[in-house]
C-alpha cells in the first residue's frame, strides 16, 4: 500500500508559471490579486511543491493570463526551470 501511495506521489509535471508571468510582464502579487488566488498558493504552484491543482484555480489563472492550461503545465520536463 505504501509503495503504491509513494509511487503516485512521484510525478513528471513541470509548472511554467514563471515563464508565462515574465512573458506578460506580470508579477506574482498582481496575479494573486487579479485571479483571487492567495500568494501562498501561487508560490506553492510556482515552486513545484503542489501535489494537485483544482480546475477552478487553473481556470482563473488561464483567464487572467490569457493562456491555455498547456502553457502553464507540461509533462516530462520535471526539474527543468525555464
Amino acid at each position: 500500500m505504501d509503495g503504491v501511495t509513494d509511487a503516485h506521489e512521484i510525478h513528471d509535471i513541470s509548472v511554467h508559471l514563471d515563464r508565462v508571468l515574465a512573458e506578460r510582464g506580470m508579477t506574482l502579487t498582481e496575479l494573486s490579486s487579479r485571479a483571487g488566488i492567495s500568494l501562498v498558493n501561487l508560490s506553492v504552484l510556482k515552486n513545484g511543491r503542489a501535489r494537485a491543482v483544482r480546475f477552478s484555480t487553473l481556470s482563473r489563472l488561464c483567464a487572467v493570463l490569457d493562456c491555455q492550461p498547456g502553457d502553464l503545465l507540461s509533462h516530462g520536463q520535471a526539474g527543468v526551470q525555464e
Binding site: 500500500m1 511543491r49 484555480t57
Partner: protein, 208 residues
C-alpha cells in the same frame, strides 16, 4: 464548535487511568503496611482454581447430600490453597495475576501518550496512526501473551500443591480474551485507515 473527535474514549481513558492509579497506590500502601495484598504480594495464603475435569474422588451423594430425586451434582472446579506458601508458590501466584494487569496498565499509558500527541499534532497525521497501531499490537499480543503466562503459572502453582504429576497440556487452560483480541485487531485496522487519511489530508494541504 467542532466536537473533539477523540471523545468519549479520551475522557474514558483519563478516568480509568486515574482510577487505576489511585487503586494501585492504595493497594501498594496496604500491601507494604501488611494489611492487604497486591497481585498476591502480602497475602497469607495463595489459592488457585483447577480447571473443570480435575479428578475428584467421591460420588454425587457425598458431594451434595440430600439430593432430590432426579437431580444431579457435579464438580465444576476445585480450588487449592496453600496456607503457608513457599517463595516459589508466591511467585507463581503473582504470575497468575500480574501479566494481565501489566498489559492493561501499559495500554492505558500508551493511550494517554497517544492522546497527548493528538492534542499537539492532530489526529490525521502519520504519528497518531503509528501510535494507534502500537496500542493495537500491545492489546493483541499482550492479551495473548498474558493469557499464556498466567495459564502456565497456574499449572506450576497447581503442580506445587498436588503430589502426582499433572497433565502437561496446560495450553488447553489458556483463556485469552476474545474481546481484547478483537479490539487489538480493530485498532490495527483503524490505524491503517487513519494512515491513509493522513496522506489524503497532506495531499489536500498541497492542493492549490
Amino acid at each position: 464548535m467542532t466536537k473533539n473527535p477523540l471523545d468519549p474514549i479520551q475522557t474514558s481513558v483519563k478516568l480509568v487511568f486515574a482510577f487505576v492509579l489511585a487503586m494501585t497506590a492504595i493497594s501498594l500502601v496496604t500491601a507494604v503496611g501488611g494489611s492487604g495484598a497486591m497481585f498476591g504480594f502480602g497475602s497469607a495464603s495463595v489459592c488457585v482454581e483447577a480447571s473443570s475435569g480435575f479428578p475428584v474422588r467421591g460420588s454425587e451423594e457425598t458431594l451434595v447430600p440430600d439430593l432430590a430425586p432426579g437431580a444431579g451434582a457435579s464438580v465444576a472446579g476445585v480450588r487449592f490453597c496453600a496456607h503457608e506458601p513457599s517463595g516459589a508458590q508466591q511467585a507463581w501466584h503473582v504470575a497468575t495475576k500480574l501479566p494481565s494487569f501489566l498489559v492493561f496498565a501499559v495500554t492505558l499509558s500508551l493511550a494517554m501518550l497517544m492522546f497527548r500527541a493528538a492534542r499537539r499534532h492532530g489526529v490525521f497525521v502519520d504519528r497518531f496512526a503509528a501510535r494507534l497501531r502500537i496500542v493495537g499490537w500491545v492489546v493483541l499480543a499482550g492479551s495473548v501473551t498474558a493469557a499464556l503466562v498466567e495459564a502456565w503459572a497456574r499449572q506450576r502453582l497447581l503442580q506445587s500443591m498436588v503430589d502426582h504429576p499433572l497433565s502437561q497440556f496446560w495450553l488447553w487452560d489458556v483463556e485469552p480474551s476474545i474481546l481484547a483480541i478483537f479490539l487489538g485487531t480493530l485498532l490495527i485496522s483503524f490505524a491503517r485507515v487513519l494512515r491513509i487519511s493522513a496522506r489524503m489530508r497532506e495531499d489536500l494541504t498541497w492542493t492549490v
